[in-house]
């Protein structure tokens, strides 16, 4: 069995926290630059240009892309043949603590949803564990801003609502969100599972490369349909009007119960951050 020290995990998480907040991933940059080239509405194009200027400054001057450096969402795939020496969860939180301090990132986590005292170090992280084959540990850091998180929704549709019901709910969610989640947005859609699994799928969908497609042709087609419908709404960058309301729609699905059709929409902004490392 492979042995791995908790310290290595903490150091990796620390590095990823900083990197994720300073450098926008290639796939998101490509989507934004592509939209800049194809956006027909002058005001909208201008905003997309400013967005490109912003992430360029962030990268060159090592300044966070956005001041909301997010809740630290950490997706961990642990190979069943690796043994961690030390407490894994503590190590991840330690990495977040150090990363947010040394990276001059904003601490946005409160201790309790009602009492609301800032924990001062952006912990605890939002951790998602997955046990997989092998002896590697894969860590994905995806800081999540709450302007867009707050616009996310879930609905337990009836099986008879079928795919039309799914389309209506997703498009309606984006329409209601309007200018609030800093469009252009990335839309993560979860379909199936249980209430909680469905929400998880929607969040996981945001990790997938924005320019990739769902491997199932039917869902790849549904992704295109949703993107076209969303970009026909006219909301545009920042909600000032234009074509580019969404950069991508990613769908993740799983089997569900005979009585249900859960759909979750997790909205992310143009500052969709995710960085991965395998140890």
């Amino acid at each position: 069995m492979r042995e791995l020290s908790a310290e290595i995990i903490a150091n990796t998480v620390k590095r990823l926290c900083i990197e994720a907040n300073l450098r926008l991933p290639k796939d998101i940059k490509a989507c934004i630059e592509n939209s800049f080239d194809t956006e027909p509405w002058a005001g909208a194009k201008d905003i997309l240009g400013k967005i490109i200027e912003n992430y360029t400054i962030a990268e060159n001057e090592l300044k966070p892309i956005c001041q909301d450096t997010g809740a630290a969402c950490v997706f961990v795939k642990i190979g069943q043949d690796v043994h961690i020496n030390g407490n894994l969860t503590d190590a991840i939180n330690e990495g977040v603590r150090q990363g947010y301090k040394e990276g001059f990132l904003r601490k946005s986590i409160v201790n309790d949803p009602i009492e609301r005292i800032n924990t001062g170090d952006n912990t605890p992280a939002m951790i998602y564990y997955d046990i997989v084959e092998g002896d590697k540990v894969e860590i994905t850091l995806a800081p999540k801003g709450f302007g867009s998180e707050n616009m996310s929704r879930i609905k337990m549709l009836k099986p008879s609502d079928s795919v039309e019901g799914v389309i209506d709910f997703v498009v309606d969610t984006v329409m209601k969100a309007g200018s609030n989640p800093c469009p252009p947005i990335v839309v993560g859609v979860g379909i199936g599972g249980t209430f909680d699994k469905c929400a998880y799928l929607a969040k996981k969908a945001l990790l997938r490369e924005a320019q990739s497609e769902n491997p199932v042709p039917y869902y790849a087609e549904l992704e295109r349909t949703l993107l076209n419908k969303i970009n026909a709404l006219g909301i545009g960058p920042q909600g000032f009007g234009g074509k580019t309301t969404a950069l991508a729609v990613n769908i993740e699905t799983m089997p569900t119960h005979i009585a249900g059709l859960p759909v979750a929409v997790n909205i992310n902004c143009h500052v969709t951050r995710h960085v991965k490392e395998v140890i």
């Binding site: 509405w41 966070p64 001041q67 001059f104 302007g147 609030n180 006219g234 909301i235 909600g239 009007g241």
Partner: protein, 188 residues
């Protein structure tokens, strides 16, 4: 063409601004988001004195990242404004003339803006690194214990904003979308 505005924003200047105008702001503004707004609001309710003068003030809804050595401020883009909707009308009634944020406002805020004369500006959400370049100085003036949510006094130069809702109730979130969609019809 951008309209250059020197802060503080007087009521006369407010009247000249129209939804859709691009502006560059220079002068002093204050930061405030959820927690600071709640404290100000509670003081107003209790009839107590506020820690700063609200008349003709502009508030920027922002919680910046910590600044590094040599920087005036960290990354500093707008936060979503509707969370301040419950508090803004009371501040507007006291003479606040400008608000900078992103996203929609409710009818109560717009009503107060029309009644007393105030403007809601949008700054580009998610452009905190770019916007921070226009902020030349920043110091805490109240509620230091709130950290990023403390009220900071900012000195800005040519800070880029767009008038989203003017003092007549015109709303760029509605007109901008409509204009774009109509341009598509014309093409057909």
């Amino acid at each position: 063409m951008e309209i250059k505005i020197t802060l503080p924003l007087t009521k006369d200047k407010v009247k000249e601004l129209k939804a859709g105008d691009s502006c560059l702001l220079t002068g002093v503004m204050y930061t405030g988001r959820d927690a600071a707004h709640k404290r100000l609001f509670d003081l107003i309710k209790e009839g107590k004195k506020l820690p700063l003068d609200i008349k003709d003030s502009t508030f920027y809804f922002v919680g910046p990242t910590p600044k590094k050595e040599g920087e005036a401020i960290g990354s500093a883009g707008p936060t979503t404004s509707y969370r301040m909707d419950a508090y803004s009308p009371a501040l507007i009634a006291l003479g606040q003339t400008g608000m900078i944020g992103k996203g929609k406002r409710n009818d109560d805020v717009i009503k107060a803006m029309k009644k007393y004369g105030a403007v809601y500006f949008g700054a580009i959400g998610g452009c905190g690194a770019l916007l921070s370049k226009c902020i030349k100085r920043s110091e805490v003036v109240a509620y230091e214990d709130l950290g990023t949510e403390a009220i900071h006094r900012l000195e800005v130069e040519n800070f880029p904003v767009v008038v989203v809702i003017d003092s007549y109730g015109n709303n760029l979130y509605e007109t901008g979308k409509k204009a774009y969609l109509e341009s598509l019809k014309e093409e057909k």
